[in-house]
């Protein structure tokens, strides 16, 4: 079993069509003082169609910037982003993005927030409302359709955001610590909900989190990033756990613990590095 868990090269396995390809990617930010902060460097990452890839790393290592580059929200300083083989220009129209922070329009009800996602595709508003209602039902919020975001709990808002992202039927899902602000129990419920919805038509997923357990429980592959600045990918692990999974139960699985121990060995070093840097800076 342990052999199956060994780290593998990024390019060695490419069974399905590539959904997202990052090649030699570097992302830099101009600093206020005129300097340049290199967030990530030499990133090579390939996400296949239907593959659920989790990206873990210490806080501030630039995990989110990878997502933003794949979404087209950030222009990389170097390297290429390709989406289904073609170079990405402008925003990534084939991707949906689930943000860590609240991104719903506060002036729209849950239903309106979900329905409005169909407007850019030219869906008539009557039909959009109907489909939005169906999606709210899927995420268990039928009774809350007419509530405004501030009347919903954090978990409920995330469900609305999930429905808003999925109703457009994007081919790629980009998620930036989406369940980060939620409490532990809600996270598990949301994780299971996400897996259920994802299992229906298996999109390519890039899921950023700092929670290793969450990463393993959800994904097919866990990518570990080093501490920043100039963070790189330092590990890439397959997760050979059978699906469908229940997030709460799977944490008790023996295989789960083996993978966790193996990845943590890599991640721990980086977390300690990041922590030491933080101390030094403070």
């Amino acid at each position: 079993m342990a052999a199956a868990l060994s780290a593998i090269g990024v390019d060695s396995v490419a069974p399905a069509r590539q959904a997202v390809g990052l090649e030699g990617l570097a992302i830099a930010f101009a600093l206020g003082g005129g300097g340049v902060y290199r967030a990530v460097e030499q990133i090579d990452l390939s996400v296949s169609d239907g593959e659920f890839v989790a990206i873990v790393g210490p806080t501030g290592c630039g995990k989110s910037t990878l997502l933003n580059a794949a979404a087209g929200l950030l222009k990389p300083a170097e390297g290429r982003v390709s989406i289904y083989g073609g170079p990405l220009a402008g925003l990534n129209r084939r991707a949906g993005y689930l943000f860590q922070q609240d991104a719903l329009m506060p002036w729209k009800t849950a239903l309106q927030n979900v329905a409005v996602a169909l407007e850019p595709q030219g869906v008539p508003s009557g039909e959009a409302q109907e489909r939005a209602r169906a999606w709210l039902a899927k995420v268990g919020l039928s009774a809350f359709a007419d509530r405004y975001p501030h009347m919903l709990s954090g978990g409920q808002r995330k469900r609305v955001a999930l429905a808003q992202m999925l109703i457009r039927n994007p081919e790629i899902l980009l998620m930036d610590e989406p369940f980060g602000p939620l409490d532990a129990q809600t996270r598990q419920i949301m994780g299971n909900l996400l897996l259920d919805l994802w299992a229906a038509d298996r999109k390519a997923v890039m899921f950023v989190t700092h929670d290793l357990e969450e990463a393993i429980a959800l994904s097919d592959r866990v990518v570990v990033m080093s501490a920043g600045p100039a963070a790189r990918i330092v590990g890439d692990y397959r997760v050979p756990l059978a699906r469908p999974r229940d997030i709460a139960d799977i944490r008790l699985d023996k295989v789960f613990h083996e993978i966790q121990r193996e990845i943590w060995a890599t991640l721990k070093v980086e977390v300690q590095k990041a922590y030491a840097q933080g101390e030094g800076r403070a």
Binding site: A71, L73, L91, N92, R93, A95, G96, Y97, F99, Q101, D102, A103, L104, M105, P106, W107, K108, T109, V116, A117, E119, P120, Q121, Y148, P149, H150, A161, Q164, R168
Partner: protein, 265 residues
């Protein structure tokens, strides 16, 4: 219960003030005149009686109508141009940067000094008052909308763009509602200033309106008339404010803690 309590206190403060005013303006306390000489301070009963009379005789309605018309025009024109410019500048930062010093200069100008100029330009009729109110309302709404559009949450904006919205859709679903919130939070102030512009304009030169009435009373040392005019103004302001609050409640239902106060009964 809590609300009733508050209301009781509010009414109580008003009554206490009126009682003190009444006592000190009617009781002589052994002196030749009351401590508050009615010639300079009038008395609350006189003011109320005069106000009642001017409504009953109907002569105030014409003046009230003129003042309200000026207020409404100043507010309508000022708010709509404020919104238009606020949007335009917020979405074109270069334009905003060029005009920035001039806008600050214009806004720093005390509007009263403009009143005579406006009278020269627009005459003694309602338009010189509308112009004065406009200069007050425009800047309040302009700054608020400008701020509102620029401070749209970047996450909400990124999310909307990731949903595939084009510029027009972003405008409709993100920028406009965001700016509207800010506009409404400035609306109470803006309406008040529209009224101030109208009254000050009338005060400085007019043939009708509440400001004119007050000025007229002042010029013959009719303090009762002055206070009566102020009372009518105050009533108008409160009525407008209540109406604004109702409109705001309806349009901003989505805002967190918006009606938290109303729910705590």
């Amino acid at each position: 219960m809590k609300r009733l309590n508050l209301l009781a206190w509010q009414v109580g403060v008003g009554l206490a003030f009126l009682t003190l005013w009444h006592v000190f303006s009617t009781t002589k306390f052994g002196a030749a005149k009351p401590p508050l000489d009615p010639f300079f301070f009038s008395t609350p009963l006189d003011v109320i009686a005069r106000t009642w009379k001017s409504f009953a005789s109907g002569e105030i309605w014409r003046h009230l109508w003129i003042t309200l018309l000026e207020t409404a025009l100043a507010f309508g024109i000022g708010a709509s141009t404020g919104v238009a410019f606020g949007f335009g500048f917020a979405l074109r930062p270069k334009l905003a940067a060029i005009f920035d010093p001039y806008i600050k200069m214009a806004n720093a100008l005390p509007r009263v000094v403009l009143a005579p100029i406006f009278m020269l330009w627009f005459g003694l009729g309602i338009w010189s008052k509308v112009a004065l109110g406009f200069t007050l309302v425009f800047f309040i709404v302009f700054f608020n909308v400008y701020q509102g559009v620029r401070e749209v949450s970047p996450v909400v904006l990124s999310n909307a763009r990731m949903l595939g919205m084009n510029d027009r859709q972003l405008m409709r679903h993100v920028y406009w509602p965001a700016a509207l919130t800010w506009m409404f939070s400035s609306l109470h102030t803006a309406v008040g200033f529209a009224l101030v512009g109208a009254v000050v304009g009338e005060y400085l030169g007019a043939s009708a309106g509440l400001g004119y009435k007050i000025h007229e009373a002042e010029s013959v040392f009719d303090t009762t008339g002055v206070f009566s005019g102020m009372l009518i103004l105050a009533i108008v302001v409160i009525v407008i404010d209540v109406a604004m609050t109702m409109v705001e409640r309806r349009l901003l239902v989505w805002r967190p803690n918006h009606d938290a106060g109303a729910n705590q009964t």
